[in-house]
């Protein structure tokens, strides 16, 4: 039974997301649309699962929700900070810096999420990954202490991501 379920729905979360996206696209919450969304949500992951081998096995959706809320809050706060920097700090006093974040994460999916989070929170852009994936190159708009930014990324986001994918 469990194996049949595994075969039919290789990515249960993807099924859920596709159903929600389809329903939102229709802009109309009705039983027919949800059922059609479910059909799409089952057929698409089933048909594409061979192109996604080695998917992460452990995933905690609850922790992911908490993480998303934290990131959304950080985006709002950091937006205000960047707006303030843009309006008040003159070009001559701006201190941009490259920082390197050593990565403890090994899963490509987790590293992608971390890089996306860093880019979405204003003031930092993730620019590149080292060729063997051990560190992430991040550009900071304005900072007095690059090491503090690196430590904050590591403890605020990376630790949480590690617990999401465990």
């Amino acid at each position: 039974m469990a194996r049949a379920f595994q075969w039919l729905m290789p990515h249960p979360l993807l099924t859920l997301i596709l159903t929600i996206v389809w329903t939102l696209l229709q802009n109309d919450i009705s039983a027919g649309m949800i059922v059609f969304g479910l059909i799409l949500g089952i057929v698409i992951p089933w048909g594409t699962s061979i192109w996604w081998p080695d998917r992460p096995m452990g995933f905690h959706p609850g922790r992911m929700v908490i993480y998303s809320i934290i990131v959304l809050w950080d985006i709002i706060v950091a937006n205000l900070e960047v707006a303030w920097i843009v309006l008040t700090v003159p070009n001559a006093k701006l201190k941009p810096a490259w920082i390197m974040v050593p990565l403890d994460l090994r899963l490509p999916e987790a590293i992608t999420l971390l890089a996306g989070t860093i880019t979405l929170t204003p003031g930092t852009v993730s620019a590149d990954l080292s060729d063997e994936g051990h560190s992430l190159l991040v550009h900071v708009l304005h900072t007095d202490d690059p090491d503090a930014v690196r430590d904050e990324i590591k403890e605020r986001y990376e630790n949480r991501l590690e617990r999401i994918f465990s």
Partner: protein
């Protein structure tokens, strides 16, 4: 004060906040000198600016009595795709050497974008374009 009046004010406030943030993004784009710092202003401030404009659109549709939730989807797609374009622009900047060059990575050989196969390495040809 009817619900409609309150709603209209809410829409107006969302629109004002949204356009203020978009404008700050544009100011940043014009003001900064260096392509890497210039990347920060529009890509970031844009997320909340456009988020607020979409909130206004949603609030407006709810007042009119034709609830629309498309905007949530637009926001989600925007949040997923924004980092990718920023990442591409950052990589192009590294290749063109327009900003200060990044330091070498501590543990590995080099940054992935610079580690191209040999016959792809004369980027000088593309630089001129």
């Amino acid at each position: 004060m009817t619900v409609e009046t309150i709603g209209t004010y809410a829409v107006a406030i969302f629109l004002l906040i949204g356009s203020a943030f978009v404008m700050i993004g544009v100011i940043g784009l014009l003001k900064f000198n260096d392509p890497m710092t210039r990347l920060h202003a529009p890509t970031k401030v844009g997320t909340i600016g456009i988020g607020m404009l979409l909130m206004a659109s949603m609030a407006h549709s709810f007042i009119l009595g034709e609830p629309s939730i498309h905007e949530l989807l637009i926001m989600a797609f925007l949040f997923v795709t924004a980092p990718i374009s920023a990442n591409f622009i950052a990589k192009v900047n590294i290749h063109h050497g327009v900003s200060e060059a990044p330091p070498a990575p501590p543990r590995d050989g080099m940054w992935a974008t610079l580690n191209s196969p040999d016959n792809d390495q004369n980027v000088e040809d593309t630089k001129q374009v």
